[in-house]
């Protein structure tokens, strides 16, 4: 199968909790009319596959196209929730669940999540600092009487 790819840098989208990302998927379809499942996720592409953080799915009605390929453009919205931590370089994945091996595609490093860092992460840093200082205090004399 011939795949045409863009050699330019992919567009990076900045999102925050509460935003919605619209993903548009294009493909040619040949086969009977049927209802399938369009699936999309934001996550991290790693050595062991795609680690999904937020995923959505929606019904996809494909038309009967028995003789030739019909061009299809479908979109799916991914709501950004607090489940995904602020960070850069998240990846995007989409597929038709019933035909995963034929359809799964990924785009790397295209989503940045912006926003205030979690208050828990600040508390954790303070706690670590405090523990380190306490440990240092045990080994280092603070003053001579």
């Amino acid at each position: 199968m011939l795949q045409v790819i863009s050699l330019g840098s992919p567009q990076v989208v900045e999102l925050a909790s509460g935003d919605t990302l619209r993903v548009v998927i294009a493909f040619g379809y040949r086969g009977p009319a049927q209802r399938l499942t369009l699936y999309a996720a934001i996550g991290n592409l790693g050595f062991f596959g795609f680690d999904e953080i937020i995923s959505v799915q929606s019904p996809l009605d494909l038309p009967a196209s028995l003789e030739s390929f019909t061009a299809c453009n479908e979109s799916i919205d991914i709501p950004i929730t607090g489940a995904i931590a602020p960070g850069m370089g998240y990846d995007l994945m989409s597929k038709i669940s019933e035909y995963q091996s034929q359809t799964e595609v990924r785009v790397a490093d295209v989503i940045n999540i912006v926003g205030a860092p979690s208050p828990w992460s600040g508390i954790t840093s303070v706690m670590v600092m405090a523990m380190m200082m306490a440990m240092m205090g045990q080994f280092m004399p603070m003053g001579q009487d």
């Binding site: 795949q3 567009q11 919605t20 993903v23 998927i25 009977p32 028995l66 390929f69 995007l92 359809t103």
Partner: protein, 145 residues
């Protein structure tokens, strides 16, 4: 020798046959059978010959995609007798891909020798795809909405 009629024996409905006028295009799916009925005149000794039919594309030569043959028994006759016989060709989409404009022809063979060949009937078979196929599946755009 001429191709007289075409019928489809659908795999989905065993025991049924669909009749088509010769000028119409027949749509078939994987597992269906196309029955080619030929008419011819015969004079000669009693013989057992093979009626052979093929579906393919007529170019410089006939590029056969699927074919079948069937034994026919001809009675001894000192005068010309008019006969008709048929051969069933099974549609196997691993050999003939989905598409339109396929041609057919038939012939009577004695051993490996062609005794009589019918004219080619053009653009009469369309093979429909039953399985879902996807082409160039890709994430085309992603944006905040």
């Amino acid at each position: 020798m001429n191709i007289q009629t075409l019928q489809v024996l659908p795999a989905q409905y065993p025991g049924y046959a669909l009749y088509y006028p010769l000028s119409s295009v027949i749509e078939v799916r994987n597992g269906d059978k196309v029955r080619i009925t030929v008419g011819y005149s015969y004079r000669g000794p009693a013989k057992t010959l093979n009626l052979y039919g093929a579906i393919g594309v007529q170019a410089v030569w006939f590029d056969e995609k699927v074919n079948a043959s069937r034994q026919i028994s001809l009675p001894e006759s000192t005068s010309w007798i008019t006969r008709s016989d048929y051969v069933d060709i099974t549609i196997d989409t691993t050999k003939i891909s989905a598409g339109s404009g396929y041609d057919i022809y038939a012939k009577i063979m004695e051993g490996s020798s062609d005794r009589v060949i019918s004219p080619v009937v053009y653009d009469v078979i369309t093979v429909l795809s039953a399985a879902a196929e996807f082409q160039n599946f890709q994430i085309s755009t992603w944006s905040k909405v």
